[in-house]
Amino acid sequence: MKGKSLVSITDYSKDDILRVLSAAKEFEKNPNQQILQGKVVATLFFEPSTRTRLSFETAANRLGARVIGFSDAATSSTSKGETLKDTIKMVSNYADVIVMRHHIEGAARYASEVTDVPIINAGDGANQHPTQTMLDLFTIQQTQGRLNDINITMVGDLKYGRTVHSLIMAMSHFSPTFNFVAPIELAMPEKYKLFCKENKIPFQDLKELSQDVIGNTDILYMTRVQKERFSDLMEYERVKNVYTLCASMLENTRPNMKVLHPLPRVGEIANDVDDTPQAYYFQQAKNGMYARQAVICDALGLI
């Protein structure tokens, strides 16, 4: 089976998603397997991200691969003015698969066009971060026992938050229902609402995270509301509390309801939520490793 790059979540068909998720489930049962013995995984972090890099490198190491690479562009030859193409060509001589993160948008797509070595996008600026989406899907399946007919409430920065956009695209295969809860400044862009309409996915735009909405939710997906996004700081001060989740808001939820967050959080989830049965964001982060193990194996054509 030929391996393939994962640059955007839309590179995966529904079948691809299901195949990779079922592999991830196997890795959850047994994360230490020598499947990648003799393989070299390159992790090229042109932009530093310790969290993501450790997750990928642990994923590769636990499967027996060797890991090469760099953790920020200052230590790579790009600091000497080398083009991305030349760096990718050079690394392609050594690695079986390349995991890359870059602050420039479209960098991973371009890299996938200049080499035959599969590329896994670990984030390209504000554009895509598909393994985050795969771990989100894995977590939804793990907590709900299914992917179909899930009611997902997305809260916070729905305008710039790439994770929520990718999650909409990926979940579109599984007849979801969405609630978009955001201040006007950070509302879900028309583009994605149009996508929902075209795919007959029910959604509603809301400005408040009410008990009513929470009570009908299976997955409460919280995102960071960043100060920098606001032109009016008074507005920021006003809305940041409106979109803060605290334990008292979780008293009448569905029994299966879980709170997810791509982490790191700033203040959107109060600390008292951590001890509720609905809090699931730390397990979600741990699932990243299983999802990345599966994505790496898929890229190499091993599953």
Partner: protein
């Protein structure tokens, strides 16, 4: 001898390309997109000509130059309803119908400064969002641009 009205306004062309039915306000954009100021061909322009369809139209006649498909694509992005005729020995030998191209390579600039195409020596690539949509998506950074806002390289 009868003289055709159009012939009076814009001289007949022996060999070359005629771009007709350009909305008048798009004429200078078409000139720019085809980089006509750097050609050595004889070029005749008609501007603010009466048109039943467009109100005011413009026409460009380029002598001894035959547009290629990539150039035709560029014109489509600015004046999708323009008519392009190839003339040989005063006769129309080919009509190149214009529609928005599904994909354009190396023509449109990505407006996103953080896009790889603005940071690496490479060709840009855009695809039409849907058939007949007036929006294009950058193949690399996935940002969209409306036809109206397109900047040509």
């Amino acid at each position: 001898m009868t003289i055709d009205n159009k012939e009076l306004k814009v001289a007949a062309l022996k060999e070359g390309t005629v771009i007709d039915h350009i909305p008048s306000d798009k004429l200078f954009k078409v000139i720019a997109i085809l980089n006509l100021k750097n050609t050595h061909s004889q070029i005749t322009f008609g501007y603010n000509l009466d048109s039943a369809k467009l109100g005011k139209k413009a026409i460009i006649k380029i002598s001894e130059k035959f547009l290629e498909q990539t150039e035709v694509n560029k014109v489509a992005l600015i004046a999708p309803h323009a008519k392009i005729n190839i003339i040989r020995d005063y006769k129309v030998v080919e009509k190149m119908a214009l529609n928005y191209p599904q994909e354009v390579v190396g023509v449109v600039k990505c407006l996103n400064p953080k896009c790889i195409t603005n940071n690496e020596p490479m060709k840009t690539k855009f695809r039409q969002l849907h058939p007949s949509a007036e929006t294009y998506v950058c193949h690399y950074c996935e940002k969209t641009v409306d036809v109206e806002d397109i900047v040509v390289l």
